[in-house]
């Protein structure tokens, strides 16, 4: 194993354990790891974005269309976010990004997310699709606030509540599954990556010392 790879694995293991230490309590190791992660991610992201912007620019510059340098100037105007006097310049790249995103989104969202969803929701072919139709309609009535939920409407919105609770329950179940998967991923890294696994006894020893020190600091009652 190369020294660089060993160091990377060691750093990965140390960061993982430092972040896990938050489960015991907030501590300095956790904060160092948290800030290092955010800093590294931001730095890496900035590098990739800069490289990509340069690559995307090249074909236009190769054709002699040097006015495409204007896009670099517009992008750099983001920096004025930190300048109180010229803050208004920051609004131009923001407006371009948000405007184009909304334009691309809205043009197709009405069809994809609304109109196209009505047909498969309302066409009943089996028990499953019937349940879907009932669930959507009753769920929508739960959010209907124009009339007081009395009489038949009360039962409809109550049924909608049950469907919503079932949906939240399913989402919670899959969330738990996701979190366990993340834990498995990190534990497999810690247990099977050399030399990261040497850090586990060190972390356990530090945790025990921490717990003992905490216990000794705790005020005793008579």
């Amino acid at each position: 194993m190369e020294a660089a790879e060993a160091l990377t694995n060691l750093a990965g293991g140390a960061m993982t354990l430092a972040l896990f230490s938050y489960l015991w309590k907030e501590n300095r190791a956790f904060r160092i790891a948290e800030h290092a992660y955010i800093g590294a991610a931001a730095g890496y992201g900035a590098l990739v974005i800069t490289q990509t912007a340069w690559v995307l620019l090249q074909p236009w510059l190769a054709k002699g269309l040097s006015y495409w340098y204007l896009t670099v100037v517009i992008g750099l105007m983001y920096i004025f976010f930190f300048h109180s006097k010229y803050f208004w310049l920051y609004r131009y790249p923001t407006a371009i990004i948000i405007g184009s995103a909304i334009g691309v989104f809205i043009a197709r969202a009405i069809k994809t997310n609304f109109l196209e969803q009505i047909r498969p929701t309302t066409v009943v072919t089996d028990i499953s699709s019937a349940l879907l139709a009932v669930g959507v309609i009753c769920g929508l009535f739960y959010f209907y606030a124009t009339r007081e939920h009395k009489g038949a409407l009360r039962y409809v919105s109550r049924t909608g509540t049950y469907f919503l609770m079932a949906a939240f329950g399913a989402a919670f179940g899959t969330t738990v599954m996701a979190r366990i998967s993340l834990l498995i991923g990190r534990l497999r890294f810690l247990y099977f990556t050399e030399p990261a696994y040497y850090l586990i006894p060190v972390a356990i020893a530090l945790l025990i010392v921490g717990i003992v020190l905490d216990y000794r600091k705790k005020p005793r009652t008579a």
Binding site: L23, W24, A41, Y44, G45, V48, I49, T52, A53, V55, L56, Q58, P59, I97, S100, A101, V104, F105, R108, A109, K111, T112, N113, E116, Q117, P120, T121, A167, A170, A171, T174, T175, V176, M177, A178, I180, S181, L182, L183, I184, G185, R186, L187, R188, Y191, K218, P219, T221
Partner: protein, 290 residues
């Protein structure tokens, strides 16, 4: 009461109350132990029934003619990689076995290394081998999520240089594509923990290319509204990835993690049941109106 120094007379708590007030750190410790044991000493629990979502994706890819184009959108950050990345590797392996063409791109900066990793694990190399530019191409990072995908779907040479600085317009991979748009694609697969609706919006509805997913489990419930006319199948978290590994007969990290996943869930289910018993039993002890 424990500590506090308030001088309040100590009150005896019932077992049910204690059950609900248990220090959450014991729960973390228990989960750590329960998940660690099968990782270190695999039990070999059966993989269970392969879900309809996974089977549909497998069958769709399996029935595609050779040299069909699969576009893999990698939106996997380090957090989602534990769930989605093994599925991506299994699907890539399947595509290579079937002689399909795969076009990768990353829609977020921290997904870039995962494309290289998938290629390394399946093909042994990234760009420096003869099939690169013929059977697979990595476009690297394309910014702005939905806008980037809209651009790529409208013009395959939207990013005319790949992740390694090679010119895509001269690549054999794209030579026989009639429209050079998403109409030439057979399937677009999204990997990540965001949502597939932007892929459906920009590729499936306008160009007719179906969508699939290898998604974090938490996202699964948001995909069902698009099944099965627009999303033809998807892998749900680590379990879906493990099922696909079983289908392509190439057990990997996901299959290895399923013992731990199952035992972890079992521990959580037991704790939920115990917590609820404690809750209902302690509620019964409170006199009505008091």
């Amino acid at each position: 009461m424990n500590g506090g120094g308030w001088g309040v007379a100590s009150e005896t708590k019932s077992l049910y109350t204690k059950l609900q007030e248990i220090d959450v750190r014991y729960v973390y410790l228990l989960i750590w132990i329960v998940v660690s044991i099968p990782i270190l000493w695999p039990i070999g629990l059966p993989p269970g029934v392969i879900s309809e979502e996974t089977t549909r994706l497998y069958q769709y890819i399996d029935n595609l003619p050779q040299r069909s184009i699969i576009v893999m959108i990698d939106d996997t950050g380090p957090a989602a990689a534990a769930e989605c990345h093994s599925g991506e590797i299994a699907v890539l392996y399947h595509c290579m076995m079937k002689g399909l063409r795969v076009l990768f791109y990353a829609s977020r900066t921290d997904a870039v290394p995962f494309i290289d990793d998938a290629m390394m694990k399946v093909l042994g190399k990234t760009s420096d081998q003869p099939d690169y530019g013929k059977l697979y191409v990595n476009l690297g990072y394309i910014p702005q999520g939905e806008i980037g995908l809209a651009g790529l779907a409208a013009n395959i040479f939207f990013k005319s240089v790949d992740a390694y600085g090679k010119d895509t317009e001269t690549m054999n991979f794209f030579a026989d594509l009639p429209t050079k748009t998403a109409r030439d694609w057979s399937l677009v697969i999204y990997y990540g923990a965001s949502n597939v609706d932007w892929v459906v919006r920009q590729v499936t509805d306008p160009y007719g290319c179906p969508t699939a997913g290898g998604v974090a489990a938490v996202l699964a419930s948001r995909i069902y509204p698009y099944c099965w006319d627009r999303v033809i199948g998807f892998l749900t978290g680590l379990a879906g990835s493990a099922q696909y590994e079983v289908l392509v007969k190439r057990p990997g990290e996901a299959a290895a993690g399923m013992d731990a996943q199952s035992l972890g869930h079992l521990a959580i289910i037991i704790m939920i049941v115990l917590g609820n018993i404690g809750y209902f039993a302690s509620r019964r002890k409170i006199p009505r109106g008091g």
